[in-house]
Amino acid sequence: MPATLNIARSEALRAAPLDSWIALAEDETRIVATGATYEEVSRRLDEAGVEDSVIIKTPKSWIRFAV
């Protein structure tokens, strides 16, 4: 795995609750909100005044994905 990838991002995702919705900060190194639904995370970001983030749905486990 090339060293240029964002390892802090992986560590944040590894620590995230599974089968949930989370939001990463703009630099993608830490979690700034979690929730059971996309809408819940979005609402928590609004309440916290977070303007720039990216929302991710975490899987039930980090099994490698093939679609």
């Binding site: 990838l5 991002r9 639904t37 996309y38 991710i56 749905k57 099994i63 679609v67």
Partner: protein, 141 residues
């Protein structure tokens, strides 16, 4: 426009990477503003764009009132989806598309052939450093 791959942990202890884009949806019928950015996987193996129902509900879609369809993945098991017209926001572009919605999706969204690849030439280059991909908009008459 060039984008870096996004890395994800794996249950085998290392990291994996996906080609993914910060994506937003808006409800075309309600002319609503786009939702907050979420990460969608670019997947040339997917026939259409599919998003988690939770995102559709957040923009006011009545998911089960959409046109019913089915998709299948590597397991071969059929998954019911509901089709809705939405506005798809990817960096620098807004597209009117018909997308599928399901609560069975293990991730937020998939950008597939109809609705995404039909509008972009996508060049994947995982061998570059940093690994990434390029999007070039295709404008057809």
């Amino acid at each position: 426009m060039r984008f870096a791959y996004k890395n994800y942990p794996t249950n085998r202890g290392g990291d994996d990477w996906w080609a993914a884009l910060p994506t937003q949806l808006a409800n075309s019928a309600k002319h609503s503003p786009p939702c907050r950015k979420f990460e969608a996987l670019i997947d040339s193996g997917a026939a259409i764009c599919i998003f988690h129902s939770s995102i559709g509900e957040s923009i006011g879609l009545r998911i089960d009132r959409g046109e019913e369809d089915e998709t299948t993945g590597v397991s071969g098991q059929a998954t019911k989806i509901y089709l809705h017209n939405v506005s798809l926001y990817v960096p620098g572009h807004i597209l009117k598309i018909k997308a599928g919605f399901t609560d069975q999706l293990p991730l937020a969204g998939i950008l597939g052939r109809a609705g995404f690849f039909e509008h972009f030439k996508v060049t994947f280059d995982p061998s570059s450093n940093p690994p990434g991909f390029e999007l070039e908009r295709i404008h057809r008459a």
